[in-house]
Protein backbone atom coordinates (compact mmCIF):
# COMPACT_ATOMS: atom_id res chain seq x y z
CA UNK A 1 0.00 0.00 0.00
CA UNK A 2 1.14 3.50 -0.75
CA UNK A 3 1.16 6.13 1.95
CA UNK A 4 -1.53 8.65 1.06
CA UNK A 5 -0.39 12.21 0.54
CA UNK A 6 -3.59 13.52 2.13
CA UNK A 7 -2.86 11.52 5.29
CA UNK A 8 0.68 12.89 5.44
CA UNK A 9 -0.67 16.41 5.06
CA UNK A 10 -2.87 15.99 8.12
CA UNK A 11 0.13 15.09 10.32
CA UNK A 12 1.01 17.99 12.60
CA UNK A 13 4.74 17.67 11.87
CA UNK A 14 4.11 18.15 8.17
CA UNK A 15 1.55 20.94 8.21
CA UNK A 16 2.26 23.85 5.90
CA UNK A 17 4.39 21.79 3.49
CA UNK A 18 3.98 21.83 -0.27
CA UNK A 19 3.27 18.84 -2.47
CA UNK A 20 6.89 18.41 -3.58
CA UNK A 21 8.14 18.36 0.02
CA UNK A 22 5.47 15.88 1.03
CA UNK A 23 6.36 13.67 -1.94
CA UNK A 24 10.00 13.56 -0.82
CA UNK A 25 8.97 12.66 2.73
CA UNK A 26 6.53 10.01 1.55
CA UNK A 27 9.44 7.96 0.20
CA UNK A 28 10.80 7.60 3.73
CA UNK A 29 7.53 6.65 5.41
CA UNK A 30 6.51 3.05 6.00
CA UNK A 31 3.18 1.63 7.12
CA UNK A 32 2.55 -0.60 10.11
CA UNK A 33 -0.88 -2.05 10.87
CA UNK A 34 -1.76 -3.27 14.36
CA UNK A 35 -4.78 -4.92 15.94
CA UNK A 36 -6.63 -3.88 19.06
CA UNK A 37 -4.62 -3.92 22.31
CA UNK A 38 -1.29 -4.54 20.62
CA UNK A 39 1.74 -3.17 22.42
CA UNK A 40 3.63 -1.30 19.75
CA UNK A 41 6.30 0.16 22.04
CA UNK A 42 7.77 -0.97 25.33
CA UNK A 43 9.09 1.39 27.97
CA UNK A 44 12.89 1.29 28.44
CA UNK A 45 13.57 -0.35 25.10
CA UNK A 46 15.69 1.41 22.52
CA UNK A 47 13.79 3.41 19.95
CA UNK A 48 14.26 2.99 16.23
CA UNK A 49 11.27 4.68 14.67
CA UNK A 50 9.06 7.68 15.10
CA UNK A 51 5.39 6.85 14.67
CA UNK A 52 2.37 8.80 13.50
CA UNK A 53 -1.20 7.56 13.85
CA UNK A 54 -2.86 7.45 10.42
CA UNK A 55 -6.08 5.87 11.70
CA UNK A 56 -7.31 4.60 15.06
CA UNK A 57 -5.94 5.58 18.45
CA UNK A 58 -2.94 4.63 20.58
CA UNK A 59 -2.58 4.89 24.31
CA UNK A 60 0.80 6.01 25.69
CA UNK A 61 1.29 4.89 29.28
CA UNK A 62 3.70 4.09 32.07
CA UNK A 63 3.40 1.10 34.38
CA UNK A 64 4.40 1.17 38.05
CA UNK A 65 6.19 -1.68 39.82
CA UNK A 66 2.79 -2.72 41.23
CA UNK A 67 1.37 -2.88 37.73
CA UNK A 68 -0.68 0.30 38.04
CA UNK A 69 -1.04 2.02 34.71
CA UNK A 70 -0.80 5.76 34.20
CA UNK A 71 -1.98 6.98 30.83
CA UNK A 72 0.15 9.86 29.61
CA UNK A 73 -1.77 10.54 26.43
CA UNK A 74 -4.10 9.12 23.84
CA UNK A 75 -2.60 9.61 20.40
CA UNK A 76 -5.11 10.29 17.65
CA UNK A 77 -4.80 10.49 13.84
CA UNK A 78 -2.30 13.14 12.78
CA UNK A 79 -0.40 12.98 16.06
CA UNK A 80 2.93 11.34 16.79
CA UNK A 81 4.42 9.26 19.56
CA UNK A 82 7.89 8.14 20.55
CA UNK A 83 9.26 11.55 19.59
CA UNK A 84 11.52 12.06 22.63
CA UNK A 85 13.85 9.05 22.19
CA UNK A 86 14.15 9.75 18.48
CA UNK A 87 15.46 13.22 19.23
CA UNK A 88 17.51 12.60 22.39
CA UNK A 89 18.76 9.10 21.61
CA UNK A 90 17.55 7.64 24.92
CA UNK A 91 15.22 4.68 25.51
CA UNK A 92 11.42 4.79 25.12
CA UNK A 93 10.12 6.80 28.10
CA UNK A 94 6.73 5.05 27.96
CA UNK A 95 4.91 2.14 26.38
CA UNK A 96 2.26 2.43 23.68
CA UNK A 97 -0.74 0.17 23.08
CA UNK A 98 -3.40 0.36 20.38
CA UNK A 99 -6.97 1.07 21.47
CA UNK A 100 -8.45 -0.63 18.40
CA UNK A 101 -7.27 -1.52 14.91
CA UNK A 102 -4.65 1.06 14.02
CA UNK A 103 -2.66 2.11 11.01
CA UNK A 104 0.66 3.73 11.82
CA UNK A 105 3.13 5.60 9.68
CA UNK A 106 6.72 5.14 10.76
CA UNK A 107 9.94 6.97 9.95
CA UNK A 108 13.36 5.65 10.90
CA UNK A 109 15.37 7.77 13.31
CA UNK A 110 18.12 8.69 10.85
CA UNK A 111 15.56 9.49 8.14
CA UNK A 112 13.70 11.82 10.51
CA UNK A 113 16.92 13.62 11.36
CA UNK A 114 17.67 14.05 7.65
CA UNK A 115 14.15 15.40 7.09
CA UNK A 116 14.69 17.94 9.88
CA UNK A 117 17.93 19.12 8.31
CA UNK A 118 16.34 19.51 4.90
CA UNK A 119 13.08 21.16 5.96
CA UNK A 120 13.32 23.97 8.54
CA UNK A 121 9.52 24.30 8.52
CA UNK A 122 9.28 20.79 9.96
CA UNK A 123 11.75 21.68 12.72
CA UNK A 124 9.45 24.57 13.68
CA UNK A 125 6.42 22.25 13.60
CA UNK A 126 8.27 19.75 15.82
CA UNK A 127 9.07 22.48 18.35
CA UNK A 128 5.42 23.49 18.33
CA UNK A 129 4.25 19.91 18.89
CA UNK A 130 6.77 19.25 21.66
CA UNK A 131 5.89 22.53 23.39
CA UNK A 132 2.25 21.42 23.38
CA UNK A 133 3.35 18.08 24.82
CA UNK A 134 5.23 19.84 27.66
CA UNK A 135 2.10 21.85 28.43
CA UNK A 136 0.07 18.65 28.53
CA UNK A 137 2.55 16.94 30.85
CA UNK A 138 2.72 19.98 33.17
CA UNK A 139 -1.07 19.85 33.34
CA UNK A 140 -0.87 16.12 34.11
CA UNK A 141 1.59 16.75 36.95
CA UNK A 142 -0.81 19.35 38.33
CA UNK A 143 -3.72 16.89 38.10
CA UNK A 144 -1.83 14.14 39.86
CA UNK A 145 -0.40 16.39 42.55
CA UNK A 146 -3.02 18.92 43.49
CA UNK A 147 -6.48 17.87 42.40
CA UNK A 148 -9.02 15.81 44.27
CA UNK A 149 -9.84 12.60 42.44
CA UNK A 150 -13.43 13.71 41.86
CA UNK A 151 -12.28 16.90 40.15
CA UNK A 152 -9.81 14.87 38.09
CA UNK A 153 -12.67 12.66 36.90
CA UNK A 154 -14.81 15.73 36.13
CA UNK A 155 -11.93 17.11 34.05
CA UNK A 156 -11.56 13.86 32.12
CA UNK A 157 -15.29 13.89 31.31
CA UNK A 158 -14.98 17.45 30.04
CA UNK A 159 -12.03 16.61 27.85
CA UNK A 160 -13.73 13.64 26.23
CA UNK A 161 -17.14 15.01 25.35
CA UNK A 162 -18.32 13.67 21.99
CA UNK A 163 -18.68 16.26 19.25
CA UNK A 164 -21.94 17.13 17.51
CA UNK A 165 -20.80 15.57 14.26
CA UNK A 166 -19.98 12.19 15.67
CA UNK A 167 -18.96 10.12 18.60
CA UNK A 168 -16.13 11.10 20.81
CA UNK A 169 -13.70 8.55 22.16
CA UNK A 170 -15.44 6.00 24.37
CA UNK A 171 -13.76 5.42 27.70
CA UNK A 172 -13.96 2.58 30.18
CA UNK A 173 -13.70 3.24 33.90
CA UNK A 174 -10.34 1.49 33.81
CA UNK A 175 -9.10 4.01 31.27
CA UNK A 176 -10.50 6.95 33.26
CA UNK A 177 -8.75 5.58 36.33
CA UNK A 178 -5.46 5.34 34.52
CA UNK A 179 -5.87 8.92 33.26
CA UNK A 180 -6.71 10.21 36.72
CA UNK A 181 -3.85 8.35 38.34
CA UNK A 182 -6.15 6.44 40.60
CA UNK A 183 -7.82 3.07 40.95
CA UNK A 184 -10.83 1.98 38.92
CA UNK A 185 -12.87 1.70 42.07
CA UNK A 186 -12.21 5.35 42.90
CA UNK A 187 -13.47 6.37 39.47
CA UNK A 188 -16.67 4.40 40.01
CA UNK A 189 -17.18 6.15 43.31
CA UNK A 190 -16.41 9.55 41.79
CA UNK A 191 -18.94 9.00 39.00
CA UNK A 192 -21.57 8.08 41.58
CA UNK A 193 -20.70 11.20 43.59
CA UNK A 194 -20.96 13.38 40.49
CA UNK A 195 -24.35 11.84 39.78
CA UNK A 196 -25.50 12.52 43.34
CA UNK A 197 -24.45 16.14 42.94
CA UNK A 198 -26.58 16.37 39.80
CA UNK A 199 -23.67 17.13 37.48
CA UNK A 200 -23.99 13.95 35.41
CA UNK A 201 -26.36 11.10 34.79
CA UNK A 202 -25.24 7.56 34.13
CA UNK A 203 -27.44 6.28 31.35
CA UNK A 204 -26.25 2.77 30.54
CA UNK A 205 -23.28 3.20 28.23
CA UNK A 206 -23.60 6.97 28.28
CA UNK A 207 -22.41 9.54 30.75
CA UNK A 208 -24.73 12.48 30.20
CA UNK A 209 -23.46 15.81 31.50
CA UNK A 210 -26.67 17.29 32.86
CA UNK A 211 -25.20 20.35 34.56
CA UNK A 212 -22.13 21.64 32.79
CA UNK A 213 -21.59 24.52 35.22
CA UNK A 214 -21.77 22.28 38.27
CA UNK A 215 -19.29 19.90 36.69
CA UNK A 216 -17.01 22.81 35.86
CA UNK A 217 -17.09 24.01 39.48
CA UNK A 218 -16.17 20.55 40.74
CA UNK A 219 -13.41 20.41 38.16
CA UNK A 220 -11.89 23.65 39.41
CA UNK A 221 -11.73 22.59 43.06
CA UNK A 222 -8.17 21.85 44.12
CA UNK A 223 -7.12 20.04 47.21
Amino acid sequence: MTVRLESLKSILYFSGLGRAELESIRKLVFEKAADRAEVVLLESESAENLYFVASGAVKVFKTSAEGKEQILSIVRPGESFNDVPIFDGGPNPASARTMGPVLLYGIKEHDMKAILRDHPQIALNVINVLAGRVRHLVSLVEDLSFRHVISRVAKILFEHIGGEMGRGPRLTQQEMAAMAGTAREVVGRSLKALEEEGAIKLDRHRIVITDKEALQKIMEVSS
Partner: protein
Protein backbone atom coordinates in the same frame (compact mmCIF):
# COMPACT_ATOMS: atom_id res chain seq x y z
CA UNK B 1 -22.77 -3.84 24.58
CA UNK B 2 -19.73 -4.84 26.61
CA UNK B 3 -16.85 -5.83 24.38
CA UNK B 4 -15.29 -9.23 24.93
CA UNK B 5 -11.76 -9.94 23.83
CA UNK B 6 -11.92 -13.66 23.18
CA UNK B 7 -8.12 -13.85 22.95
CA UNK B 8 -7.82 -12.77 26.58
CA UNK B 9 -10.83 -14.64 27.95
CA UNK B 10 -9.85 -17.86 29.68
CA UNK B 11 -13.45 -18.83 30.38
CA UNK B 12 -13.10 -18.60 34.14
CA UNK B 13 -16.74 -17.50 34.40
CA UNK B 14 -16.27 -14.87 37.12
CA UNK B 15 -18.16 -12.32 35.02
CA UNK B 16 -21.09 -14.69 34.52
CA UNK B 17 -21.22 -14.98 38.28
CA UNK B 18 -21.41 -11.24 38.92
CA UNK B 19 -23.77 -10.38 36.07
CA UNK B 20 -27.11 -9.67 37.67
CA UNK B 21 -29.09 -9.55 34.44
CA UNK B 22 -27.88 -12.82 32.96
CA UNK B 23 -26.44 -11.12 29.92
CA UNK B 24 -23.39 -13.35 29.85
CA UNK B 25 -22.88 -17.06 29.40
CA UNK B 26 -20.05 -19.44 28.68
CA UNK B 27 -20.33 -20.97 25.25
CA UNK B 28 -17.53 -23.26 24.09
CA UNK B 29 -15.38 -22.15 27.04
CA UNK B 30 -15.64 -18.50 26.02
CA UNK B 31 -17.81 -15.74 27.44
CA UNK B 32 -20.63 -14.77 25.14
CA UNK B 33 -23.34 -12.13 25.40
CA UNK B 34 -26.69 -13.85 25.27
CA UNK B 35 -28.98 -11.03 26.39
CA UNK B 36 -28.55 -7.59 24.91
CA UNK B 37 -31.65 -5.76 26.13
CA UNK B 38 -31.32 -6.21 29.85
CA UNK B 39 -27.69 -5.17 30.30
CA UNK B 40 -27.72 -2.01 32.41
CA UNK B 41 -24.01 -1.32 32.06
CA UNK B 42 -23.16 -1.86 35.71
CA UNK B 43 -19.61 -2.71 34.50
CA UNK B 44 -19.17 -5.34 37.20
CA UNK B 45 -18.08 -7.84 34.56
CA UNK B 46 -15.31 -5.47 33.47
CA UNK B 47 -14.25 -4.92 37.08
CA UNK B 48 -14.16 -8.58 37.99
CA UNK B 49 -12.37 -9.97 34.97
CA UNK B 50 -8.82 -10.94 35.96
CA UNK B 51 -7.59 -10.79 32.38
CA UNK B 52 -9.02 -7.48 31.24
CA UNK B 53 -11.02 -9.34 28.63
CA UNK B 54 -14.22 -7.32 29.01
CA UNK B 55 -14.58 -3.60 28.50
CA UNK B 56 -17.60 -1.39 29.00
CA UNK B 57 -16.76 1.92 27.37
CA UNK B 58 -18.82 5.05 28.02
CA UNK B 59 -19.76 7.69 25.51
CA UNK B 60 -19.68 11.15 27.11
CA UNK B 61 -22.28 13.61 25.92
CA UNK B 62 -23.83 16.89 27.02
CA UNK B 63 -27.56 16.96 27.61
CA UNK B 64 -29.26 19.32 25.22
CA UNK B 65 -31.21 22.06 27.00
Amino acid sequence: MPIIDTRKCDGCGLCVGVCHCNALAIVNKTITIIETVECDWCTDCEAVCPNGAISCPFEIIIQEP
